[in-house]
Symmetry: C2
Subunit: 347 residues, 2 copies
DNA sequence: TTGAAAGCGCTAACAG
DNA sequence: CTGTTAGCGCTTTCAA
């Protein structure tokens, strides 16, 4: 592979000049510029990104921490992140923590600041202390899906009003006439879906409804399946099931089918997120859509800003503790009515 | 962030020594070794990967080219790749070509050899010429899912006997007693699923069956849905549907349900791959499983070997044209019988 | 407008 | 065993 200096020699100039025309900085005479460009083309020169990273003191990559690509939401989000990152000249390194904080820490220790100049975190079951540490070391970190716009975490983040999402789901069900509910709350361990459930309860409470049983579950189809089976044993049976996530909602639909009941005739089901599968399931899942692409865009943008500014000021020191931690709030979640919800069979 | 020389100073040795103890090469005295290690711990030193990459002339990352993470197979595969890559000390940069050869080329041009020392390609709709070019430039490329073990492509690859997969699917349906088939063949444009269909036809032919209609479709649930609707208009209707991929098979199940028919009572459906969703759909999908994890492992392993050897010999020159292109063959696809197939209602 | 020179942080011979 | 000496390929002041 040809190097900068080879190009320079070929064009009869110095490496510095070549660098200048390539980075479009410093005035360069039009003729030499052309000569350099020709040489670049002739030799098929491509800049060596690792070398550039070293010289610039910053790598052109972002680390995307995810807890498990098994959940189809992550790939969708990763795709959006990749698009946004690329638009800002970054590559994305995918870091699968596998729900294991140690793996997450190992990743952070290795690449943060040395191979990637920023870290994006989805609900990756990471130790906040580890994140703060990498931040303190000078590598900005952004939380991509903070659930409570009103309660900022100690880290930069993009917040989505998930409480509202839960509320919208509840209101939709109530409007259809449902009064007996079963709720499937995911991410039990991290408690990260609590806000969604609170919103749901807000709606019920506002309507004076108290017929609601809760069940915690893993964030999977299987988890939702199991939880729904348990919920459906109640007497009287709920007429609608709310899940804090689409995957468990899908599982609930399976459970209902296995019991010989029909959605939405016998039972309504609603989820949150609007993953692709929600559109493609049968019946298609009614859900509260989260603006995934927008969130990805905001997250990358915020991260970029942090990178830019933290490089300007105070070297790689800890962020000024008195300064507020930046937060972006996405547009509101929106109800998407599809075929899994309907009025209850009888009142 | 502390640097190697800072650690060296702190330990009262030279950078070279620190490097030696860290890389475990060159004999180092036990006492100095300890001293260095202490200094590393005290300063919280972490090697700068970009710097190391430059010095070593090789980056610790692999590029994984995928056409679209939308298809749930890719994330599953990506996960397996990431695991394998990490085990060999590599990070993986995810490159979404979006089915667009130009995007793919741009990725290759930028990172191959400069930020990643190897390229893994799934069915990413890439221009073979581009791949050969990056290979010729000295960056090994491995095709992850070559469909015909008997017909090696011009590039190193891991092959899966997809023709056999199709055959197994056909045989399963035949054994159940089916004689009228509908086939949904995906990836029409690239023709990449042809082998699967050929295998299916092999089975039918061996059984003397000719009642088989084909329909091409996009590799999506939606694509399968549409194709199945078309297939089911035939008279007499097929009693079983074979899809060259799980996603379209799932779509076919939806179409059947929408027509008021039941799987597997009225129609049987079978796919290929065994993505997670196949297990979680209702009814659970019978399919021919591809050893995804194994393939990922073989691909990374092969890539590693190519990296190792191509660095030893002949600098970064084109691979010896007379040498055979290396190929690994995965273990055979296996039939996984679940709930979407059964004997036809009547003969 | 261009060139010279120093250095990013680390590795890799080769000496001592 | 450990230190010296060169770079890896590129960017970036600072001079010319």
């Amino acid at each position: 592979m040809p190097t900068l200096s080879e190009v320079a020699r070929h064009a009869g100039v110095t490496p510095a000049t070549v660098s200048n025309v390539l980075r479009k900085r410093g005035r360069v005479g039009e003729t030499t510029r052309q000569r350099v460009l020709d040489a670049v083309a002739a030799l098929g020169y491509r800049p060596h990104l690792a070398a550039r990273a070293l010289a610039e003191g910053r790598a052109p990559t972002l680390a995307l921490m995810v807890s498990s690509i098994a959940n189809p939401f992550y790939p969708e989000f990763a795709l959006a992140v990749e698009r946004a990152a690329r638009a800002s000249g970054h590559f994305v390194i995918i870091c699968n923590t596998n729900e294991d904080p140690l793996t997450g820490r190992a990743y952070l220790d290795q690449i943060a600041g040395t191979l990637s100049e920023g870290v994006l975190v989805t609900n990756a079951n990471l130790d906040f202390a580890d994140l703060r540490k990498t931040e303190a070391r000078g590598t900005p970190v952004v939380l991509c899906m903070w659930e409570r716009p009103t309660e900022p975490p100690g880290l930069p983040c993009v917040a989505v009003d998930f409480r509202l999402a839960g509320k919208l789901a509840g209101e939709h069900l109530l409007e259809l006439g449902h009064r007996r509910f079963g709720a499937i709350v995911g991410s039990k361990a991290s408690g990260i879906h609590a806000a969604r459930y609170e919103g749901f309860v807000d709606a019920l409470r506002a309507a004076g409804v108290t017929k609601n049983r809760v069940r915690h579950a893993a964030d999977t189809i299987q988890g939702g399946y199991l939880a729904a089976r348990a919920l459906l044993e109640a007497d009287p049976q709920p007429s609608a099931i709310f899940a804090t996530n689409d995957l468990p909602a899908l599982g609930a639909m399976h459970a209902i089918a296995d019991l010989g009941l029909r959605v939405p005739d016998d039972l309504s089901v609603i989820g949150i997120t609007d993953i692709q599968l929600a559109r493609e399931s049968r019946p298609a899942l009614t859900t509260v859509a989260v603006p995934t692409v927008e969130v990805a865009g905001l997250a990358v943008e915020l991260l970029r800003e942090l990178i830019e500014t933290s490089y300007g000021q105070a070297g790689r020191d800890v962020r000024d503790v008195t300064a507020p931690v930046p937060m972006r709030v996405s547009s509101e979640p929106k109800l998407v009515v599809r075929a899994s919800t309907a009025a209850p069979r009888s009142r």
